[in-house]
């Protein structure tokens, strides 16, 4: 398979994803923080972003997974782990704290590099450092 066929779908999916985040205005941290501010100035929009994404994905995914294999890869790679462990809870709480402080989760943060100012660059750099550090520790423990 040519490199183009192998790689182009990922580029296209990324573009569609970033465009969708922009349309949904999730690239505006003020809007995200207002969604999380239930007792103050609440903006319910983000609930509909998640509902829309979830509905479309939940509708289509079962049909995709009926296939023997993906269009441009040998097999589906789905997270096999389904059970709940401490990691998922601790990690979720840490991530949520960071999300609640600044209003950036990873997708909108990366998409925001399209109009990067120093604030976005600093946040992105810290995200890269945090990601690297956590993966290094997880790979080297025990």
């Amino acid at each position: 398979m040519s490199a183009f066929i192998r790689l182009f779908p990922a580029l296209f999916a990324g573009i569609l994803f970033g465009f969708g985040l922009s349309v949904a205005q999730m690239i505006d941290p003020a809007k995200v923080l207002n969604f999380l501010d239930l007792t103050g100035t609440w903006d319910p929009s983000l609930a509909l972003v998640m509902a829309g994404g979830l509905a479309v994905n939940a509708l289509v995914t079962p049909f995709i997974l009926k296939r023997d294999k993906p269009l441009f890869a040998e097999f589906f790679r789905l997270p096999g782990k389904l059970q709940i462990d401490a990691r998922i809870i601790v990690g979720g709480i840490i991530f949520g704290a960071g999300w609640g402080i600044a209003g950036y989760c990873p997708g909108p943060l990366i998409t925001s590099l399209s109009f990067a100012n120093s604030d976005i660059l600093v946040t992105f750099a810290a995200f890269v450092v945090g990601t690297f550090a956590a993966r290094w520790v997880l790979a080297h423990r025990g």
Binding site: L7, F8, A10, L11, F12, G14, I15, F17, G18, G20, L21, S22, A24, Q25, P29, A30, L33, T39, G40, W42, D43, S45, A47, L48, A51, G52, G53, L54, A55, N57, T61, P70, F75, L78, P79, K81, L82, I88, I89, G91, G92, I93, F95, G96, W99, I101, Y104, C105, P106, L109, T111, S112, D119, A126, G130, T131, A133, A134, L138, A139
Partner: protein, 148 residues
């Protein structure tokens, strides 16, 4: 509670596009569109030969933002501003990086893809980060009284 700036139509359309993008990545490459996982595999790779598609997906995210602005849909992008100062942005970025790797996913991987697959793990993860984020905003805005 006051409801402000509710934009249901762009939210639903944008959400549907995100869902389509995730479905397309699964159909074409057999991969879950979890942004923190895709980025993590570039920032600290664990497998050889598993980086190219990740770089292109991430480049696509940025390009999608560019196209949105280039089409003139982003009237107001220049008005988007960070809501906290740089020290807090650094803290937030670190926590988001660490938390998503420890918790193996973020809003996209757990919140959209995982829930669509009815993974109990993703449901718990989503409840944890949503709850934590809501509590954090309450503390920062209403208890510490920072008018963001």
């Amino acid at each position: 509670m006051t409801i402000v700036n509710f934009t249901p139509v762009p939210a639903l359309i944008g959400g549907a596009l995100i869902g389509l993008a995730a479905a397309f990545l699964l159909l074409a490459k057999g991969r879950i569109a979890g942004i923190s996982g895709i980025a993590g595999g570039v920032i600290y790779p664990e497998q050889r030969g598993d980086i190219g598609w990740r770089v292109l997906f991430i480049a696509g995210l940025v390009l999608g933002g560019f196209i949105y602005q280039w089409l003139g849909l982003g009237a107001g992008v220049e008005q988007i501003q960070a809501q906290v100062g740089k020290p807090m942005l650094i803290l937030a970025g670190l926590l988001v990086g660490i938390g998503t790797q420890v918790g193996t996913g973020c809003t996209s991987g757990h919140g959209i893809c995982g829930l669509a697959r009815r993974s109990p793990r993703s449901l718990v993860a989503t409840l944890c980060f949503m709850g934590s984020a809501i509590v954090t905003v309450y503390i920062v805005r209403h208890l510490l009284g920072a008018s963001l």
